[in-house]
């Protein structure tokens, strides 16, 4: 085990994947000798050469189109989109190409080797173009998987799984905790399963569901709730597509209450999907309305960022409302 921050864990996963398989290539804007604007790809070019880790021209649709071609050919591309806010020029390539390659060809061709990495989320004074959480758009695309780690250990294990998974994966990285999240990470190669949620804390009174940097917010709120005698069960979804409805519903059947927290705007956020599924499957076990503590339905603000964020205090208020309902 070594102490690493989340960025170092991602870099370590990339080194591990590239060393284990010469087909793994890393591409994106500034990922070459510069190592990416966040340094996630530091030293990859020096270690593995320019052919395997290379800068691309500044074109997101081109990066994903190019990576789709690489993946179809048999290479294992890991494409970086510098900020998730800038992924939208590539939306067509992801929806109409990456995700449909296998289906439309009856399984003759696929882009399963592709992993797209992108930092996402707010809390860094980035305003609307360096803070968005666009995960819900991508959970609406049959054919891709969406994965989000919450700490360095999860980041390395989930990224290695994503790179080796036979389906294309969008790997969103919570950039607010890139350096703040530090933990023990095994030096060796390991994988964590996709499609499975993780119970971060066992509890009895209410289930709190989140992902990425918001898991820490849930932990903070749960700690304060405990002082009020409320026991929270915390679930990190880890995979949003497909998502672990079984684990979440089992937890809600036990606690009778559910709170979902995400930074993205509340309307049509992924919390809506979770709430709909839970009310279908857990209707008779629910003791109170499902709570969604989310971003406002506004563009991501700058100077009012603190007020906008679904923070621990808002989460605690919703926990109390749910328990006292």
């Amino acid at each position: 085990m070594i102490k690493m921050n989340l960025l170092q864990a991602i870099n370590n996963a990339l080194v591990t994947a590239m060393a284990a398989n010469p087909k793994v290539l890393v591409l994106g804007e500034d990922v070459g000798h510069f190592g990416g604007v966040f340094r996630a790809t530091s030293d990859l070019q020096a270690k593995f050469g320019r052919e395997r880790c290379f800068n691309t021209p500044l074109t997101e649709q081109g990066i994903i189109g190019f990576a789709n071609g690489l993946a179809a050919q048999g290479c294992i591309p890991v494409a970086e989109i510098q900020f998730a806010d800038y992924i939208f020029p590539a939306f067509d390539q992801i929806i109409n190409e990456t995700a449909k390659f296998r289906y439309r060809s009856g399984g003759q061709f696929d882009c399963g080797n592709l992993t797209i990495r992108a930092p996402y989320g707010g809390g860094i004074a980035g305003g609307h173009y360096h803070s968005q959480s666009p995960e819900a758009f991508f959970t609406h695309i049959p054919g891709i998987k969406v994965v989000i780690p919450r700490n360095p250990y999860q980041a390395k294990g989930l990224l290695l799984s994503a790179i080796r998974d036979p389906d294309p994966v969008l790997f969103l990285e919570p950039k607010r905790i890139y350096r703040a999240s530090v933990g023990d990470v095994p030096e060796e190669d390991y994988e964590l399963p996709l499609g499975q949620a993780d119970v971060v804390q066992v509890g009895t009174d209410i289930t709190l569901v989140g992902w990425g940097a918001q898991v820490e917010v849930l932990q903070d709120a749960a700690e304060q709730a405990l002082k009020l005698g409320i026991s929270c069960e915390i679930i990190d979804l880890q995979s949003l597509l497909p998502w672990d409805a079984e684990l979440v519903c089992a937890s809600v059947n036990k606690t009778g209450r559910l709170l979902i927290n995400h930074e993205a705007p509340v309307t049509s956020g992924f919390g809506s999907e979770i709430a709909a599924t839970v009310q279908e499957r857990c209707f008779l076990h629910l003791e109170s309305p499902i709570q969604r503590v989310c971003g406002l339905d506004t563009p991501y603000p700058l100077i009012q960022e603190k007020q906008y964020m679904p923070d621990a205090l808002k989460t605690l208020a919703a926990i109390k409302y749910s328990v006292n309902y």
Partner: protein
């Protein structure tokens, strides 16, 4: 330690003191033509093709005419939902494919059935896709003409325009780093070249050294929009120069010129590990698709002018000049294939369709739990309403 080089992005730029705006860097890019409309050879220095190649191209052009004619009729009779003919553009597609090797990947737009036929796709295979039956390799998931065949290195067609262009750059990069002695050819129209993916793909291929042949079929129309409402520059070829891509413009109705240009492009792409752009100037004599009626946007006289430039007639005249034309053999070839198409069509339309279970396969490598649950619910519902949904293979009638 990172080695840094001093860079000078002004190095190749000359200074001027005249206030002068530039629009054309040079004269219009010339068009390579090796056969005139009478099929006469126009160059004495150019390399030629052999009789077998020329004959195979010629026969494949005939085959595609027969296939297109029959399938447009089949659509009119309501036997298939949609079709898209490539009449007038056969030389641009077939002669370029003929200049490739079988291990070269072909990525197309949708009007390149000639490339697939040249590679050996059978009439039965065409029919199975067109009828979306149980033998369709796409499992009945795509509209007619969205062919794909892994064994023939022909990437499955997708409808969104231009998406294959950056993919072809990436595919060729993969071929290069895997040490394959192969290139990727990417076909698209002059309309699709307005898409962002065209610009992304060409630039990336140039910057990253991808052995890709980009072949633009400039057929004058994007559905109803004529080329002069699509762009004002010197066509698509000039853009290649702008991106630093080796470029050639060719008479797309001259099979020999297309063949030689593509052969040269392939050699350069492989030897120099770089992309090449070919702009084939041609004309879509056909409607855009069976959903289109060109009489509402172009005049008959214009079509007649291009009929006179018919690539098939021109090639036939050339074969006659070369004393390679065997009229009886050609007639027999066409007769055989006319019958074959009719026969295969009747067989394909009677084939069963795919089982309902295939609705959830190939979304992911394995069917995930949520899709299995949705499939089970769907099957229960259909079973409860047996007369309200089309019968699929394996269901009780």
């Amino acid at each position: 330690m990172i080695e840094l080089n001093e860079r000078n992005h002004l190095q190749h730029i000359q200074i001027t003191h005249d206030v002068e705006l530039q629009q054309h860097a040079h004269e219009s890019i010339p068009m390579l033509q090796l056969l005139d409309e009478q099929g006469m050879l126009l160059s004495t220095t150019c390399p030629l093709w052999d009789q077998a190649t020329a004959t195979k191209i010629f026969n494949t052009m005939h085959y595609i005419r027969i296939l297109d004619e029959r399938m447009v009729s089949a659509q009119r009779q309501g036997r298939i939902s949609f079709y898209l003919a490539c009449t007038g553009e056969e030389a641009a597609v077939i002669a370029s494919t003929a200049a490739l090797q079988p291990n070269d990947m072909i990525m197309t737009q949708y009007r390149e059935q000639g490339a697939l036929a040249y590679r050996g796709y059978s009439t039965e295979q065409f029919m199975n896709q067109l009828f979306s039956n149980a033998l369709d390799p796409n499992k009945g998931r795509q509209m007619p003409i969205h062919y794909g065949d892994k064994a023939l290195n022909f990437m499955t067609v997708s409808s969104p325009l231009g998406t294959q262009i950056p993919q072809a750059a990436g595919y060729a990069y993969g071929q290069r780093v895997s040490g394959e002695s192969a290139v990727t050819i990417c076909y698209f129209g002059e309309g699709a070249a307005s898409e962002g993916d065209f610009h992304a793909g060409l630039n990336m291929a140039a910057v990253l050294g991808c052995p890709t042949i980009f072949l633009c079929r400039n057929n004058g129309y994007a559905i109803s929009t004529p080329a002069n409402e699509q762009f004002v520059g010197d066509g698509i070829a000039a853009r290649g120069i702008g991106y630093g891509v080796k470029t050639i413009r060719v008479d797309g109705n001259d099979a020999l010129a297309v063949f030689i240009a593509t052969q040269t492009a392939r050699q350069i792409a492989l030897e120099e590990q770089c992309p090449v752009l070919i702009e084939a100037m041609t004309y879509r004599l056909a409607a855009h698709s069976t959903s289109d009626d060109p009489s509402s946007y172009r005049v008959n006289e214009e079509e007649q002018k291009w009929q006179a430039k018919d690539p098939l007639q021109r090639l036939q005249r050339h074969l006659i000049q070369q004393q390679w034309f065997d009229e009886a053999a050609t007639e027999a070839y066409c007769e055989h294939h006319r019958n074959e198409v009719l026969r295969a069509l009747k067989v394909a339309e009677r084939q069963p369709n795919i089982p309902i279970d295939e609705i959830v396969t190939d979304v992911y490598a394995q069917v995930p739990l949520h899709l299995q649950t949705q499939l089970d619910a769907l099957k229960d519902h259909v079973a409860a309403h047996p007369n309200d949904y089309p019968k699929m293979t394996g269901e009780k009638s």
